[in-house]
């Protein structure tokens, strides 16, 4: 590691011609060997040519030696095309500079170092009187260019910058003015770090990594509820959950002792992998694809290494073999999910939990009251019981006559049972005339469906009573239609509830699959009691498939209807009937109880079920084999779960599962985890990481521009309990962060891409920030934390998905103006405005977004409904042009700028004066009923300024 510590200057700036710095293996040589030689002379045994490897000191030894004898030098400098390396047909060519470097390296002894990022970071000592970041950056800037850092940015720029960086939103004018007055930057930083907006903004970075989306991906790309995971990330960031715990819960929350719902919800991180619902696809193929994604993503996100290549063959550049790959894969190959939704878990929001708990408490209290029984209850019950038992609750009705479309005949047994005594048709309608007992007042009708005989012509024992109608026949009078009420049954098939038998609709009625082999009861009250005469019932059983009664009984009762239940044994549970239906005080309690139980059910049904990880146990655990050439159908040797050999083993006390992996990632000895994370955070603030290739810390990745700074930040982050907020505070409090972004010609020449941080970093806002800023400035933004995704307007016809009927419905009301983070994310069709500004699709882990500058972006901010409506709202909100300018850009406009905007306003005003219809049309596009169309144009210009789209 001695050399690494010595490396202070960036490779980009080293002037080889000056000959000053000695050749450094990791900085100068490894990248050349890696890019040009390792493919054939690297870790991959299968691809190795000439039995030579150049990725190890041992392998390269025979190629080195004194320069004039060195085979390596000969091979790269020779004119003989047959001997020249790299061979022409590889397409690789060494530049003169690279050849000189290799020659110099051989001359200096050809020393090898371990790849820099595989050595643990060490915190260098820094002078006490200077911010450590400023120390590292300043020293290097001075050394490489002789330049000094820029002055601190003006306070308007500073507060806009830090507000956008920490919360993704611009400051209010009041906050800005207060800071300009006080100059207390730390207070601003603390306020922003404590705001809820903080979690919403930084969640975006993590959700890109987590490949979060609202749909499953692939052909059908159907909806799947994952938004509770997004809530979890926002909340975890807001409470500054330390990165080690943040990691452990997401990778293995389910494996923690007595995990909370929230900890299990965190494991949805790895359930964000795609699922393929396309017909005929092999679930195992896509389960394997998801597991590979989990292994790859874990390595990418936490260690900045690309293992993807190693799933087909040993990595050509980094020391990761195909065996390493499948050993690591094995940790993730032990969960229950298999390209299907399960396992899912109800994941209530805090509000839902609170409501449910409240209802549950009320239910308990009511149950207790019910159990305790009011005074006088026992006496009332025994009195009632006697009355109940005086007459039998149900009297079978005698069949007086019948009609059947299919000519079916019924016979009646002594106990009143009716049986089919003829050929059994597939379907039929019966009209039965039944004698009513004379002199009795009848309150209700009961049907006993008795089991069909086994086998026979009707294999299905179910009955489908599509519709039941009743008429009252009195001698000499016309039949009177009877209204049946309060239908109830001991059991109904789903979709065939007993109420549907009397709903006038013949599509469905009462049926009782899958419990068709058992007897069942249905009870209907007569809306008005009847007496004397006859009852005529029509039973529509025209469904087909022989779903008609074979054996049944019809009875009527004289009891009050609230004494009657649809239970097989009418005298069973008398106390229950009395308590719940008859006796006033308890009946009321019961009614209350039912209301609350319904309410509870309502809450529970709205609780989102999130896909989570669940470990397989015992015999169900899978054996992992190497997939030859990455093909899951071509399985090779069995492997044991383990981390790549080059990184040692799991910590001694760690279990060999995902929890162990998480602990291994977060142990202090891991050389990469902290570096990768601080680098990622740095890149979000400065536009480029200290290691530019955030996704690749391996030998093909870029070398760090400020290695000591990277290590200092990494160690400091770990030492300060992995606190993201602390890390951010450390960085934004530095002078380096606070520099002015003004670009001078000298700085542009000496440091064109600002890799040396000779000035403040000025770069374009992310897709979400562009949207959120315009909504916030115009006052449209809906401030609501968390919740399901929303559908802000998008042009018609963007969603045209194969075979999935899901539709985009433009939100109206508050959901139209939520932060971009909450925009519904469909993997095969992301929101086009977001896509234009380089947001990803959530299909796979996205380590960083490229930033482009295209005409399509101009069209979005000029013409997308969201931005026109924002212009309208801003036009309405601003008291004058200067105010509008400040709402967006924080600072006041210069006199020149104000003049130009006012000139535009005047011109547009004149134009619209003669074009009232156009003015009205523009106002309408901007969501305004009335107003000043010229102001809308000015507001739109302000929202489209380069400065608006950039971080100051």
């Amino acid at each position: 590691m001695k050399t690494l510590l010595a490396v202070i200057t960036s490779t980009l700036l080293v002037s080889i011609a000056s000959g000053v710095p000695p050749v450094d293996f990791n900085r100068d040589i490894r990248p050349i060997l890696s890019a040009n030689c390792f493919a054939c002379h690297g870790p991959d045994k299968e691809a190795r040519e000439g039995d030579l490897r150049l990725d190890t000191a041992k392998g390269a030894r025979k190629m080195l030696g004194p320069v004039e004898d060195s085979e390596l030098v000969y091979r790269i400098e020779t004119d003989d095309v047959d001997d020249l390396m790299p061979p022409e047909d590889t397409g690789h060519v060494l530049t003169e500079t690279q050849k000189k470097l290799l020659r110099a390296w051989v001359a200096s002894g050809g020393e090898y170092d371990t790849h820099w990022s595989f050595e643990p970071p060490v915190k260098a000592t820094v002078p006490e009187d200077r911010h450590p970041i400023d120390h590292f950056v300043g020293e290097q800037l001075k050394k490489a260019t002789g330049l000094t850092p820029a002055d601190e940015a003006n306070r308007y720029a500073l507060i806009r910058r830090v507000s956008l960086d920490l919360t993704g939103l611009p400051p209010t004018i009041e906050n800005a003015d207060a800071f300009v007055k006080s100059g207390d930057f730390e207070a601003v930083v603390d306020r922003l770090l404590g705001a809820e907006d903080f979690g919403e903004h930084w969640a975006r970075m993590w959700l890109d990594l987590a490949r979060f989306a609202d749909t499953k991906g692939y052909e059908k790309d159907r909806h799947r509820d994952m938004w509770r995971y997004r809530d979890w990330v926002i909340e975890a960031l807001n409470r500054d959950l330390p990165y080690d715990q943040f990691t452990i819960e997401q990778l293995a929350g389910d494996l923690l002792p007595k995990p909370t719902t929230e900890q299990i919800l965190a494991t949805a991180f790895h359930r964000n992998t795609m699922e393929n619902d396309e017909g005929g696809t092999d679930d195992e193929e896509f389960r394997v694809a998801a597991v590979k994604d989990r292994a790859d993503t874990t390595m990418q996100v936490w260690m900045g290494l690309t293992m993807g290549c190693a799933k087909c063959h040993t990595h050509k550049y980094d020391p990761i073999s195909i065996k390493d790959y499948y050993s690591f894969y094995s940790f993730f190959n032990q969960t229950e999910d298999a390209d299907r939704p399960a396992p899912v878990m109800p994941t209530p929001t805090a509000q839902q939990s609170e409501q449910a708990a409240k209802f549950e408490a009320e239910i308990t209290a009511l149950n207790q009251k019910l159990k305790a029984k009011p005074a006088g209850y026992a006496e009332a019950f025994s009195k009632w019981k006697a009355a109940f038992k005086k007459t039998p609750p149900w009297q079978p009705l005698k069949l007086a006559g019948m009609q059947s479309k299919q000519g079916v005949k019924l016979t009646q047994a002594k106990d009143g049972t009716l049986k089919v005594r003829s050929e059994n048709p597939e379907k039929d309608t019966w009209t039965l005339t039944l004698n009513l007992p004379a002199g009795e007042t009848l309150t209700a009708l009961r049907i006993d469906a008795l089991p069909k005989k086994a086998g026979g012509k009707w294999p299905d024992k179910n009955v489908a009573l599509r519709e039941l109608t009743a008429e009252f026949l009195a001698p000499g009078a016309k039949p009177v239609k009877l209204k049946l009420a309060n239908p109830r049954a001991d059991f109904s098939q789903r979709g065939w509830e007993v109420a549907r038998a009397i709903d006038g609709n013949r599509k469905a009625g009462w049926a009782f699959s899958p419990k068709a082999a058992e007897p069942h009861v249905a009870v209907f009250d007569f809306a008005k009691p009847i007496s004397g005469g006859q009852l005529r019932l029509t039973l529509d059983m025209e469904y087909g498939l022989g779903l008609i009664f074979e054996s049944f009984r019809l009875s009527a009762s004289t009891h009050p209807v609230n004494w009657l239940t649809a239970s097989l044994d009418p005298v069973a549970g008398l106390e229950k009937i009395f308590s719940e239906q008859v006796y006033g005080p308890t009946r009321e309690l019961k009614a209350q109880l039912e209301t609350i139980q319904e309410a509870l059910k309502g809450v529970q049904s709205r609780i989102s079920k999130t896909a989570i990880m669940r470990e397989l146990a015992g015999e169900k655990r899978r054996k992992t084999r190497i997939h030859n050439r990455g093909n899951f159908l071509d399985q090779g040797d069995t492997v044991e779960a383990g981390v790549p050999e080059v990184f040692g083993k799991l910590p001694g006390e760690s279990p060999a599962n995902r929890l162990g992996v998480a602990q291994w990632l977060m142990q202090p000895e891991n050389p990469l985890t902290a570096r990768v994370m601080v680098n990622r955070v740095w890149a979000r603030l400065f536009g480029i990481g200290i290691v530019e290739t955030e996704e690749d810390f391996g030998s093909q990745g870029a070398v760090p521009s400020h290695p000591e700074l990277l290590d200092w930040l990494a160690v400091d982050y770990r030492e300060k309990d992995w606190s993201l907020k602390q890390l951010l505070k450390t960085i934004v409090m530095s002078g380096t962060y606070r520099q002015s972004a003004v670009v001078t010609p000298e700085k542009l020449a000496a440091d064109p891409r600002n890799r040396l941080l000779s000035r403040g970093s000025r770069f374009r806002l992310s897709a979400e920030m562009v949207r959120d800023q315009s909504l916030a400035a115009s006052g449209l933004l809906t401030r609501k934390l968390g919740g399901p995704s929303v559908m802000p307007p998008q042009p018609d016809g963007v969603w045209k998905s194969t075979y999935s009927g899901e539709r985009w419905k433009n939100a109206t009301g508050p959901d139209r103006y939520r932060r971009g983070l909450y925009t519904y994310a469909k993997r095969t069709s992301p929101h086009p405005a977001m896509l234009s500004f380089d947001a990803g699709s959530g299909e796979v882990c996205q380590i960083r977004r490229v930033r482009t500058n295209t005409p399509l972006q101009a069209l979005v901010t000029l013409n997308d409904t969201a931005f026109i409506e924002a212009a309208g709202a801003l036009a309405k909100r601003m008291t004058d042009i200067e105010h509008g300018f400040r709402l967006v850009l924080t600072r006041p406009p210069t006199a020149e700028e104000a003049k130009r905007l006012n000139a535009l306003y005047e011109t547009m005003k004149t134009d619209f004066a003669s074009k009232l219809e156009e003015a009205q049309a523009l106002l309408q596009s901007a969501g305004l009923k009335e107003g000043d169309a010229a102001r809308v144009c000015v507001a739109s210009v302000i929202l489209n300024l380069d400065e608006t789209l950039m971080k100051p």
Binding site: V743, S841, L856, L859, L945
Partner: protein, 498 residues
């Protein structure tokens, strides 16, 4: 996503100072060259080009080669008989279960052109130009579900996240027109293809190279292209003048070259607002040209808004024809890569509106005249020799009937399952030798000679456009990524080239 990309961006900015006017998806060649290789005139991946542009006609869902191009008397003989075991062992199918029956070609074949090729009676138009086309009967792929197979074909990987062929090509060659996107996508058939917009995504290449879908269903041809109602062209000009002036002031204050790029991109957007609707407006074409394709300006197909377009396919639906005519206008105007997707070729016969006996003739009717028209029109304009045309699906269809719903052939339900082992595509135009290439066994199950894989097809396309498929790469995730993948399996099919 990496150093090279960032350098590219830096170079782009520098370029602005020299030439002012950064093209859209049109980063000029020399910008790809680092200072050290500037001595060479062209990057090493550039080779002499036969084609200036390409029109790729993708029949999403995959048409049946056995009912269009593969006349198999032996299969007719087996028609309705149970498939011999040897054809089923060890195979995976999407939907076929158990032992299916063989199904002979449903439509008549006749011989056409000098080469005497057998072409189905469903394609009279193509038959009339068959001497301009090279039919490849020996295509095969590794994927047998739509989404992964389309991705493999169009992006080189069955997984999501790789750049599409069109992105690669515009990245390598740029666009010839400063006012139009270099890579345009046109879709017909009422649905986007199974794998969705990833098929024209730019993957790890910068987003300027992603395909721009131009819509023909009545809305903006490019999303957000229209100014809001009430904002006239002159007013837009005035607001942009003010915007530019203010951005100039910002540039004086801060000095960031990116600000100048932004000004130029807003200007380009303004020009596109004119040029795109213009090029997309086929109503200006004379009647005999419209008739040549069967195009109907302004037609909005009911299929475009139908919940299930299969139910309402009509043979005279001109959407695909309109897109073919548009494709010609686009290449004529210097667009590099025009990609047409036509949805509705997945003829399993398991539900209404997706059968070989009833739906395939309708789909053929929709495309056949237009394709002949396109070839003839390009020829009469002298564009045929510099335009590469590729036609095909993402895989083929089985010689067996699909039997998961019924085991007997019933009218309106003739269907075939996905078949990756052999299928037909054709190429025409720039440097492609007309004729036939490759063949399959007597029932069209396996390839008999001259196998052509997806990698070979991709290699050939790149090669014709002047890009060396093996050297044309972009560093990402530790590898020099290529369209043709990490292995060197892909070979240019030189036998079909002049």
């Amino acid at each position: 996503m990496n150093l090279k990309l960032e350098q590219l961006r830096a170079n782009t900015r520098r370029h602005f100072f020299k030439q002012s006017g950064l093209g859209f998806g049109a980063i000029a060649l020399q910008q790809l060259l680092s200072a050290e290789t500037a001595a060479a005139k062209k990057p090493r991946f550039r080779i002499p080009a036969k084609a200036k542009s390409i029109i790729y006609l993708h029949m999403a869902g995959s048409p049946s080669q056995l009912d269009l191009f593969e006349n198999k008397p032996a299969l007719t003989k087996y028609h309705g008989k149970v498939c011999p075991d040897e054809y089923l062992e060890g195979k995976r199918f999407a939907f076929i279960k158990g032992k299916p029956k063989m199904m002979g070609p449903v439509f008549d074949y006749t011989q056409h052109g000098e080469s005497g090729q057998w072409i189905s009676s469903l394609l009279p138009g193509l038959s009339s130009v068959i001497d301009d086309v090279c039919v490849i009967r020996s295509m095969h792929t590794e994927q047998f579900n739509h989404s992964p197979a389309q991705l493999l074909l169009q992006t080189g990987s069955q997984l999501l996240g790789s750049p599409s062929m069109g992105s690669w090509v515009t990245y390598g060659l740029g666009s010839e027109n400063q006012n139009l996107p270099g890579f345009v996508v046109l879709a017909s058939g009422g649905k986007t293809p199974s794998a969705g917009k990833s098929l024209w995504g730019s993957g790890f290449l910068p987003t300027v190279y992603q395909g721009v879908q131009c819509r023909t269903d009545g809305g903006d041809p490019i999303l957000y292209l229209s100014d809001p109602k009430g904002m006239s062209r002159q007013m837009r000009r005035k607001t942009l003048d003010a915007l530019n002036d203010l951005n100039e002031i910002q540039h004086q204050q801060i000095g960031d070259p990116e600000t100048l790029t932004r000004i130029s991109q807003y200007e380009l957007a303004f020009r596109m607002q004119m040029s795109v609707p213009e090029v997309m407006d086929i109503s200006k074409e004379p009647k005999h040209i419209l008739d040549l394709y069967g195009a109907q300006p302004g037609h909005v197909s009911a299929a475009e808004t139908a919940a299930d377009p299969r139910q309402i396919y009509k043979g005279d639906d001109p959407t695909f024809a309109n897109n073919c005519l548009l494709a010609r206008r686009l290449v004529e105007n210097g667009v590099r890569f025009v990609q047409l997707y036509d949805w509705g070729w997945d003829h399993h016969g398991s539900s209404l509106g997706e059968s070989i006996d009833e739906t395939l003739p309708i789909k053929c009717q929709q495309i056949d005249k237009a394709i002949a028209g396109l070839i003839n029109d390009l020829k009469q304009r002298g564009l045929f020799d510099e335009t590469l045309i590729v036609w095909g699906g993402e895989f083929g269809r089985t010689p067996m009937m699909q039997n998961n719903v019924r085991n007997e052939l019933k009218k309106g339900f003739y269907g075939r399952d996905h078949h990756p082992h052999a299928f037909t595509m054709w190429m025409a135009g720039a440097g492609v030798k007309p004729g036939a290439y490759g063949s399959t066994d007597d029932i069209g199950y396996y390839i008999a000679e001259d196998k052509v894989g997806i990698r070979d097809l991709q290699s050939t396309v790149l090669h014709q456009l002047g890009l060396d498929p093996h050297r044309f790469s972009f560093p990402y995730q530790g590898l020099d990524q290529r369209l043709i993948g990490p292995t060197n399996d892909g070979k240019v099919i030189s036998d079909i080239l002049t």
